[in-house]
Amino acid sequence: MPYQLENRPPDLRESMYFPEIIRGIGTITKHFLKNLFFSRDANPDILARKRGGFGHSDNVTLQYPEERAPYAPAYRGLHRLVPREDGKPRCVACYMCATICPAQCIYIEAAEYPDDPVEKYPAKFVIDELRCIVCGFCVEACPKDAIRMDSGEHTPPSYERSAQIWDEKRLLRGPPVSYQYDPWLRRGSPSIPPDKLEEMRARAKPFPTVATDEASQTPGFSVRALAAEARDRAQAARK
């Protein structure tokens, strides 16, 4: 039901300026005192942190760059090429990410493994991070879970444009990921010693039956944990 807005001119009390101004000052003084002595941030992530106690303002200023704001698992950050257990990239240079990227910032050159059952790998995988619009389509388009944007940071700043062009050596980092149906685990690979193959098969993630975050994120790899570790390191350095 439509209802009318309260658009009325100021009455006598309000026309005298000061009552309302005092009321406003009261509001912001309340905030001032809260800031000074108590925590005021209502972000549930911040509230969940250990509070500082009376007299210690739980100031929510993060000491960047030693402390970082934790990224949510789904929050898109800088790309990484996901490695396998044996250090090679999971990427098979299928060009899906290069095709779907709306900014056309991915350049790939494929090459062949002479012996690995997967056959194809990227000899060159270059992302121009300056052109990237951080849309996450490359992650959606990858049929091998080979590229993720879960590195918990955005592109670090640099003085030259060329430093923002990330090639496969810089992109290949982070915890490895394996699934039980991966061909190098099913058929074996020359780069995996046979005694370790069974152990890797046992460690690999099972065939996911439902498409959740768990299917595309590595359990145990927590950006919050990384941020906490960085904070501890910074604190230790300050002591």
Partner: protein, 430 residues
């Protein structure tokens, strides 16, 4: 005063300060002081000043050439196009699914509403029905972004009238909401959340509780902002009875959305032509009476209240289910199928290489965005790329009406007027 037209249609013969004198002396002559006059009229002309394009109050980048008679705006000419990036043409170059990042950057303060608007247009053309849970998710995220948009407007409006504190309170509230959306969509601003046939991701664990807590906090902040501004004489004096648009004028000028409702016409697309799940939700339409800046400001505050109501109802009504249509013609197959089955990976490849094949035809689909009626006119030729996209930006009629709204008012009234129509450069100039 329209006989002699100088540069920009400005009359070089106009003189100020001669109110009540009757005949205006021509430029260049010094008339002697008449009986009872305290001063002799000096020859002068209107001042033409340039507001923008780089100007804190010119949202987006807009240039306004204002002809001033002292402090009174005689005429105003708008110069836009500084943010034109060729959205409509760029979208002809990409597949249907790749259009979503472009739509993100239209109304960049409430990007999910652009995503959803475009997705609805394409689904209308393909006659595709979206799963229930996806509809609810779209409504929830749209309304949260509507709250963000209104917070931005209220904050910016207050800041430009001098109330810096309110701006920061608004930003705090907006930031809390953005953090929640970052957990859901993957980005705070450029959300890229809707897909053809549904949405991209489902709610993470615990997201609903967190969001409700955050929305409580946003309500508290909104109440504080109201406390600071609603009955503040300075604010009321600046905003009340300035930038007035009558109901008939608003309809003639093509206003939609909060600006139209503030002028007295209770038209809201969510009620008039309900889409998604708005017909199942209980919310009211605030309507203004005066059509001035203060009404438009109050309108935004009340709409935030209604959006909050909508989101809470959606959380209650939502049931578990799929978040995207399970049809390989339109949606990428779920990742387990892509990793493990040939059918999944083939469908995935075809959709990425060639794009979703939308049947040939054309359709106009409209939704209620934060600023008004956001319309997408979509033409498909049956292939995987749009043939033509046309956009009806809700901010366009209001921006175009600005010279009418500000004619004869003071220069300082231009600022709240410009703020309250919420012109977002990204959507107006595409």
């Amino acid at each position: 005063m329209s006989e002699a037209k100088g540069v920009g249609g400005i009359d070089p013969r106009a003189t100020p300060g001669s109110a009540g004198a009757g005949e205006r002396p021509p430029v260049g002559t010094l008339a002697p002081a008449g009986e009872g006059e305290l001063y002799a009229p000096m020859p002068s002309k209107h001042m033409v000043i340039n507001l923008g394009p780089s100007h804190p109050a010119m949202h987006g980048v807009t240039r306004a050439v204002v002809e001033l008679n002292g402090e009174i705006i005689e005429e105003m000419k708008l110069d836009i196009g500084f943010l034109h990036r060729g959205f409509e043409k760029s979208c002809e170059n990409v597949t249907w699914g790749q259009v979503f990042p472009y739509t993100d950057r239209l109304n960049y303060v409430s990007s999910i509403m652009n995503n959803v608007g475009f997705a609805l247009a394409v689904e209308k053309l393909a006659k595709l029905d979206v799963p229930e849970r996806a509809k609810y998710l779209r409504v929830i995220t749209s309304e949260i972004h509507r709250i963000c948009d209104h917070l931005t407007l209220v904050g910016a409006m207050a800041m430009e009238l001098g109330a810096m504190t309110v701006f920061l309170y608004g930003i705090e509230a907006r930031d809390l909401l953005w953090d929640r959306l970052a957990e859901l969509c993957g980005a705070r601003l450029t959300s890229n959340y809707a897909r053809i046939g549904g949405v991209a991701r489902d709610m993470p664990e615990g997201w609903q509780e967190k969001t409700l807590k955050v929305m409580d906090r946003v309500v508290a902040i909104r109440e504080e902002i109201g406390q600071l501004l609603n009955r503040n004489r300075i604010f009321i004096d600046r905003c009340r009875n300035t930038g007035k648009v009558s109901r008939e004028d608003a309809l003639e000028l093509g206003f939609t959305g909060p600006c139209l409702r503030a002028s007295g016409e209770p038209y809201d697309v969510r009620k008039a032509a309900p889409y998604l799940v708005y017909d199942r939700l209980d919310f009211d339409i605030p309507v203004g009476s005066n059509g001035d800046n203060f009404d438009r400001y109050l309108m935004r505050m009340e709409e935030m209240r209604q959006s909050d109501k909508i989101v809470r109802q959606c959380f209650e009504q939502m049931a578990p289910g799929e978040i995207i249509v399970q049809d390989f013609r339109y949606a990428l197959p779920p990742k387990p199928l892509v990793y493990g089955t040939i059918e999944g990976v083939m469908a995935h490849f075809k959709l990425v290489m060639e794009g979703i094949k939308i049947p040939a035809g054309e359709v106009y689909s409209y939704t209620e965005a934060a600023n008004g009626e956001l319309g997408f006119y979509v033409v498909s030729d049956g292939g995987g790329r749009p043939y033509k996209l046309g956009l009806r930006a809700p901010g366009w009629p209001m921006l175009a009406a600005l010279p009418v709204m500000t004619k004869g008012s003071l220069l300082s009234d231009l600022i709240p007027t410009f703020d309250s129509i919420n012109m977002i450069g990204g959507e107006v100039e595409q």
